[in-house]
């Protein structure tokens, strides 16, 4: 009896010991410059993934992992010290800055690309352009039928990103101007999901990052301007925004994180940004 008790106790002890040991080991492993953990925006995700692959090809000793959980979660991760680079498709909010500074984290923004928020509809939809005011009216529920904006008599199915999304916040700021969206809007969790919803629904309208607006959906002109590389960079497209990677402080030059967040400044980095469908910050050609 006594011995079995002992055995049980030893078992538990060994287990707790293993966990503590593991935790200790992971501390030391994290201290080395052998990994970069990237988390955040689903819009910046494709850029981060391409950068990660390119980076690992050229720096075999460094592991880069990329998660796409949304801008808000990216910011939270950075504040908690759970990631090295937070992808964000919006700027950090003042509350987030405050929370970060309180924890001794000082976010530094690196703009890796420019992006236009493409307002997309099903390609069968004859509507070619909308004004910003019309888009806002649609999302506020004031316009509910395509015939009110020059289309056929069909109900508008309004699709928006979830509120954790940086794309949502950018849309809210640039188009909605902080006015409230209507009840009964569909909120979906990613750019890909918005696109899928639009692809399969003739009456739907949604918005995605420029890199996600492919030939399976139709990107509308906004205020008469088509979203593309030139209109976004020149600032003529009215619903454009920068895409960020945030780090805790400016990374030490020569460190893996530094070369990762400056990759977009190289010619190859810019080519990758453009190849994926976003707009490089400067003209590299």
């Amino acid at each position: 009896m006594e011995r079995a008790r002992m055995a049980v106790r030893v078992g538990w002890g060994a287990l707790v010991g293993a966990v503590l040991l593991a935790a200790g080991l992971s501390r030391t492993a994290a201290a080395e410059d052998t990994k970069i953990v990237v988390d955040g925006s689903t819009t910046v995700g494709p850029i981060a993934k391409a950068f990660a692959e390119h980076f690992m090809q050229h720096n075999p000793g460094v592991k880069v992992t990329v998660a796409e959980s949304g801008s808000g979660n990216g910011a939270k991760s950075l504040i908690n010290g759970a990631c090295d680079v937070a992808d964000m498709s919006r700027f950090m909010k003042s509350e987030e800055f405050k929370a970060a500074v309180e924890r001794g984290v000082f976010p530094v923004a690196h703009v890796v690309a420019l992006d236009g928020l493409a307002v997309i509809v099903h390609p069968s939809n004859p509507v070619k352009e909308l004004t910003k005011a019309q888009v806002a009216d649609i999302y506020m529920g004031k316009i509910t039928n395509w015939k009110d904006v020059g289309g056929p008599d069909a109900k508008i199915v309004v699709v928006s990103r979830d509120t954790n999304s940086g794309t949502y916040e950018a849309f809210e700021e640039l188009v909605m101007k902080k006015r409230k969206m209507a009840e009964g809007i569909e909120y979906v969790g990613s750019n890909g999901a918005v696109r899928q919803r639009i692809q399969s629904t003739p009456g739907a309208i949604g918005y995605v990052g420029l890199g996600f607006a492919d030939e399976t959906v139709k990107a509308l002109k906004i205020d008469g301007v088509e979203p593309n590389r030139d209109t976004v960079r020149s600032g003529r497209y009215p619903v454009a925004r920068p895409l960020f990677m945030f780090t805790n402080g400016y990374p030490r030059p020569g460190s893996p994180v530094h070369s990762f967040v400056t990759l977009h400044l190289t010619k190859k980095g810019q080519e990758m940004v453009e190849g994926i469908g976003f707009v490089p910050v400067t003209d590299y050609k």
């Binding site: 008790r5 994290a30 953990v37 995700g45 592991k63 998660a67 959980s69 390609p123 004859p126 056929p152």
Partner: protein, 448 residues
Amino acid sequence: MRIETRKLLDKSFSGAGWISVFLMVAALAIILLPIAWRGAGAFVFRATVEHRRMMLELFGVGDPAEVSAETAAAAEARRPIYDMLARFRAELSAMPVADRRRMAGRLAQLENALRDLLGPLPGDPIPVLPRQRYGQTRWDRALKKLETVLFRETWDYSDPTRMGRKVMVPRAEDFKGTSLEPFFADVKMRVADMLRPKLAFYWRFLTDESRDSHFFGGIWPEMLGTIYLTIGAAMFAVPMGIISAVYLTEYAGDDRLTGALRTFIGALAGVPSIVFGLFGLAFFINTMKVSQSKSVLAGSLTLALLILPTIIRASEEAIRAVPAAYKEAALSLGAGKGRTIITVVLPAAMPGILTGIIISMGRAAGETAPIIFTAAVSVGDPLSLLETLSQPTPALPWNVYNMCTEHQKLDELRHVQFGMVLVLVMVVLALNVAAIWLRARISRKLKG
């Protein structure tokens, strides 16, 4: 009740039973067969010369001499096509301005479609992104892309009262009267020579790393991540589960506390898995800081919590099923309680316990929600054993979901997604079959 009525009721009951069994099998077939069929497409498909070139350049697989000979043959077949394009470009510069602008736009579209099909055109710089460096690697995809070379998709909006209709305009009509008009028939005729499809068995899908976020290569990091997470979960949950089960059956009295403990374990089994995921994030990562970021370790611990109740239950049942005579015999020979448990009870119960462990490992392998916040990422290299302590990993269930909702080019990568689903289903199925086999073996043994 009349005897006929009873018989009728009896028959209709067994009929209903048969029907429901049949429906279940049919539903399973409807779900599994397409998965198996389309998933097999990731392993067995007709591969083009681009596939073989890609495999050689990115993975170092294949005979360089053979591949370069084949690439040269394909280039030879492509040359007339590219020559026609070059001739047309020359013709273009001689056109009146209005025509030239219209034609140049169409030409740019055509060239992009052709790049999709065959890879970079002669004179293009080598693209940085691997996905743009190669033409279509799979013949089935190539035939789809061929359509976009031959036809231009437009929409007919002539009826303002309804949504538009899709119209496929042959590009040959776009270029009517120019030197490019015969181009399209030529492309269609030559496409097999230009891409040289051959049946390929791509078993390395399981063991290759993915390149350019799953455009090329296989699912090894995901496989390895799932293996790590599953084994890790079992490593934590099995000792704790068995010890708890021994305590509950052999030591705990039949008092209120034990009753409450049992209730808690039951409740734990009913908690939705996403709650475990959030708990794992809040407790293991944010509070305990077992790792700085998401990690395989944190994910394994979370999954261990998830499968713990199943293991405790299964072990308890197995220990209870050990005949009392075994224990009595051991005790009567002078063994202490601890020794009896370790040398007699646990070995006799082990088969049942193992079954429970294997089934719960199947559950851990397939769970998505607990690892979203604790372990899973969409892109990462395969990890070494030490790295699992501090680094997150891709894993099959999460990456199936992630690709489906998130990937920019999902439509071109359905085969990878189905391949992942198939592998995941097979892993879970194999674990379950192993459990069934084990159980059958044991019951045979027990019957003597």
